[in-house]
């Protein structure tokens, strides 16, 4: 039984690797949007993914409007400047 199952496992692993490779190709091809010009809406959605970032953004924006000056805040790991 061992001698039959070994090649079977080898072929199964080979197919698994092939599917994983093509899956990664497809996933990476979809990520091309990250290196292309996008609309402001898409850029903003990417920047404000988490609820914590949304709160930080709103607070920084409120301060920028009140003080009429630019505020720096870290959103999605990027140090950005907000002004109004």
């Amino acid at each position: 039984m061992k001698s039959i199952s070994k090649p079977f496992h080898f072929v199964a692993d080979a197919f698994k690797d092939v599917f994983a490779t093509f899956g990664l190709i497809f996933k990476l091809a979809n990520s091309v949007k990250d290196i292309m010009v996008r609309t402001d809406e898409e850029n903003l959605e990417k920047l404000l993914k988490t609820p914590e970032d949304q709160v930080k953004f709103q607070k920084a924006l409120d301060e920028a409007i009140k003080d009429s000056s630019a505020k720096e805040v870290i959103l999605n790991g990027r140090n950005v400047r907000i002004s109004a």
């Binding site: 990476l28 091309v32 010009v37 920047l47 709160v55 709103q58 409120d62 409007i65």
Partner: protein, 354 residues
């Protein structure tokens, strides 16, 4: 009418330029004599000669289709280039949306602080007839059939609420306790000795105020800068335009053989046209991973993994060229790709983690 004439002239120039450059000129059986004859026949209320036989009708349809396809592709390419370079916001004659659309979006003409490559959005404060104040990101303005504003739709909308501290001291304290840094449902706005103002998120993705209910509207252009470095902004534009031109050239080359390279079959030419934009995408992703200095400084292991995955996938994407350029037979290329994918699967960072 002017656009139609411009498209016809543009089509003529494109065909003329193409014929002077290409070893395989494009020829339409319908010439100037046929076109002038058509106008004379219409004037004399006779059936034009280009519609007399099935062969002539086919030639006419081919010419019209060619004109429409060139117009469609030209419009698509110019629209994308204008978008990538932000030209519609710089030059009014390139604007293709309504005036309200351009008034409510930041541009050099209405916002002196407007700069290329930064993110802009329009914050709108709207008061309705009941003097309720709402604020949010402008999503869309709807127009009626006469072109007047019918409704204003906000995204991530909030409603302002005012509490008198004297009348409801407990409520003000309760709301302050509900503020959290982990969700943006309740946000403080301002506080004085007697009043406390806060914003409450309106549930749902979009909130619409209709024109009849609209009292006034305040527009603020919000600028988010330093998202990308100048080099990244330029590279995005260059890559986007390159991919657009490559996609267009591949599409046209797949349909019409320009004889740039003597492919041994139509299938190989079509495969080349399908594969080349994909290859360009992977080169772009590999270069993006290579120049990702932020990742290099923060997580060198992930940087090397991304680079390694990108390089392996680029080679995988290049293997079909062995068949396209007649190096190996198709069955041998499939075997090579299968073996390569099997071996490569052991080196991919996603598989290693599993």
């Amino acid at each position: 009418m002017l656009c139609s004439v411009m498209m016809l002239v543009w089509f003529y120039l494109i065909v003329r330029a193409f014929n002077s450059w290409s070893p395989m000129p494009v020829e339409f059986e319908i010439g100037f004599d046929d076109i002038s004859d058509t106008f004379i026949c219409i004037y004399e209320s006779r059936l034009p000669s280009i519609l007399l036989t099935s062969e002539r009708i086919t030639q006419t349809v081919n010419l019209l289709l060619a004109i429409y396809v060139v117009s469609l592709l030209t419009g698509f390419v110019f629209n994308k280039v204008i978008f990538y370079l932000g030209l519609e916001r710089r030059f009014s004659f390139l604007q293709f949306q309504s005036q309200w659309q351009y008034l409510t979006s930041s541009s050099k003409q209405n916002n002196l602080r407007h700069s290329f490559g930064d993110i802009f959005y329009t914050k709108v404060d709207v008061m309705n007839a009941k003097e309720e104040l709402f604020t949010g990101r402008l999503h869309m303005i709807s127009y009626d059939k006469d072109g007047k504003v019918e409704a204003i739709t906000l995204r991530d909308a909030y409603r302002f609420n005012r509490i008198s501290k004297k009348d409801h001291p407990d409520k003000a304290a309760e709301i302050k306790q509900a503020f959290s840094n982990k969700n943006a449902l309740l946000l403080p706005h301002s506080e004085t000795a007697s009043t406390f103002v806060y914003r409450k998120r309106i549930q749902g993705d979009l909130f619409t105020v209709f024109n009849g209910d609209l009292n006034n509207i305040s527009i603020t252009y919000v600028k988010i800068s330093n998202v990308y470095r100048r080099f990244q902004k330029v590279m995005r534009i260059v890559f986007s335009i390159l991919l657009l031109l490559m996609g267009l050239a591949s599409l046209v080359y797949a349909v019409y053989d320009f004889h740039i390279y003597p492919f041994s079959s139509t299938l190989k030419r079509v495969l080349f046209c399908i594969l080349s934009p994909l290859f360009l995408i992977f080169i772009g992703l590999l270069l993006n991973a290579l120049f990702n200095s932020k990742m290099y400084k923060l997580n060198r292991k992930k940087y090397k993994e991304d680079l390694g995955d990108g390089f392996l996938l680029l080679i995988m994407c290049a293997l079909p060229y062995l068949f396209i350029f007649d190096v190996f037979q198709w069955w041998l290329v499939i075997i090579i790709m299968f073996v390569y994918a099997t071996i490569m699967g052991n080196f991919l960072s996603t598989n290693k983690k599993k």
